[in-house]
Symmetry: D2
Subunit: 156 residues, 4 copies
């Protein structure tokens, strides 16, 4: 599979992200998802700060996480992010968190978002911010759509 | 519906839980779920600290959240928690987060857990800690099971 | 010493507040200080939300913490808060965090604040929000000032 | 001044680190200090994970922060860390947080630490882990000591 189909970030697990179980506290992965999609949007040509400054927010409407293996303090972890579903009013990001050192898949998940104005009222992205709409659509074409097709092939 | 079918906690939203969107940052609700199930376990007769001291952990294997309305700084919020599925090796907690002041349902969700030893290896709860097993099963009977039945009636 | 000289809150330590050292992660106590002063302001007659809605912010300019003993998961902890210094343009809150169960003093500290408008420009509280100024001054008289005097007596 | 006298890390401010004031929530800077000293220790030749695995902990005994300007979402920030005081039983890290884009100094601070065993009992580092002692001493000589001398010259 083309490895450019997702966007990646890497970072180290911080001490404050662990809990007394000796592993990363489970809620923190939801933060990591946010870091992943922030960089995807940036690589698509916008910073999320610019998006908000132009009056568009992407609040989360749904989130799901599957925990397969725990990350530990000081691990280098990699978040892979792609756009799994996309329309003029909403999009779904998908994520995989890996530990590159030993190739372990740690966590998978998704977050769903709607496009809104600063008062959290829904907007159509193609009308509100067409430049971002085009860029995210292109990102979806190169990433999420391709990954979905590959998945379907795998199952065929 | 019998209002004793779930366990409730109430608390105020803290400043540090908000983000610059002016509402609670979405990852924090996953913390609130944890507070809810901690008190459910306590009301069932054990503290989760005691559970861990007896060598049983309940790591999260799956989590899902649906965000309906945002909580805001200083809101009093209520987390309702019940056991939605239960067996000797795993259980599922379900949650609803409400704002009692205006009766708004803010967030719903679930977390799935397995019973493990301190090395995160699966154990059967009825063998490892039968007293807790019995109490959680009773909690499931009075709570989750009843709520499920009520749901099925609603749909009939 | 008159025990009404400070304001208190009590709560349990959450799992996510611990780290892999098995104790509360040190940065979290700064959050607890915030919870303490929020309730002090509320007991003085205002919620901090109301204060912000009337255009006054209290950003932190300095903070200091001394860690004496660690708090642990599920401990009931008590934050005692009082106003240690007070003027028309700034105030200092002081804090003690105790574990009532065994009477252990865990953490002490202070946070300094200035009064500002929403653009973080300094304001005089007695002009901007005289009602709050009077209440905080009264709170300072009954609390911080008395504690200070008691300290001086102790040393005499 | 020799710019190699401190260790630096750079990263972007995350959304979840902001609060509804539109700036970074003040407690988060204490986390950033931790990231700074973690990388200093790593560059000195050890990872803090290795240090803990060899039975030495560095719990925080005191922390202080001075907030000069707020960091904002998506800012690139730089944490400069050096060892300001050093002995066989304790050390003090000093920190400056800058926004390189416009050269603004945002926050300064210090954290004091003692060397302990896993039960949080004090140990002498030169006896418990001499290799780390030597490396931190060298780090202190090249960094903190030099910065202190420079400060004294500035004042002369």
């Amino acid at each position: 599979m083309d490895t450019t189909s997702w966007r990646t970030i890497q970072f180290r697990v911080r001490y404050g992200e662990t809990d007394q179980m000796g592993v990363v506290y489970h809620a923190n992965y939801l933060n990591w998802f946010e870091w992943g999609r922030t960089e995807l949007i940036r690589e698509a040509g916008f910073s999320y700060r610019q998006v908000e400054e132009r009056g568009v927010l992407l609040p989360v409407t749904d989130a799901s996480l599957t925990y397969k293996r725990p990350a530990r303090y000081d691990d280098v972890v990699e978040v892979r992010t792609w756009i799994d579903q996309f329309s003029t009013v909403r999009l779904v990001f998908a994520y995989e968190i890996h530990r590159p050192e030993d190739g372990t898949l740690l966590v998978t998940g998704q977050t769903s978002h709607v496009f809104t104005d600063p008062n959290l009222r829904p907007v159509r992205l193609d009308r509100q911010l067409p430049e971002l709409y085009e860029r995210l659509r292109a990102e979806y074409e190169r990433g999420g759509k391709r990954l979905r097709a590959a998945h379907l092939e795998d199952r065929a």
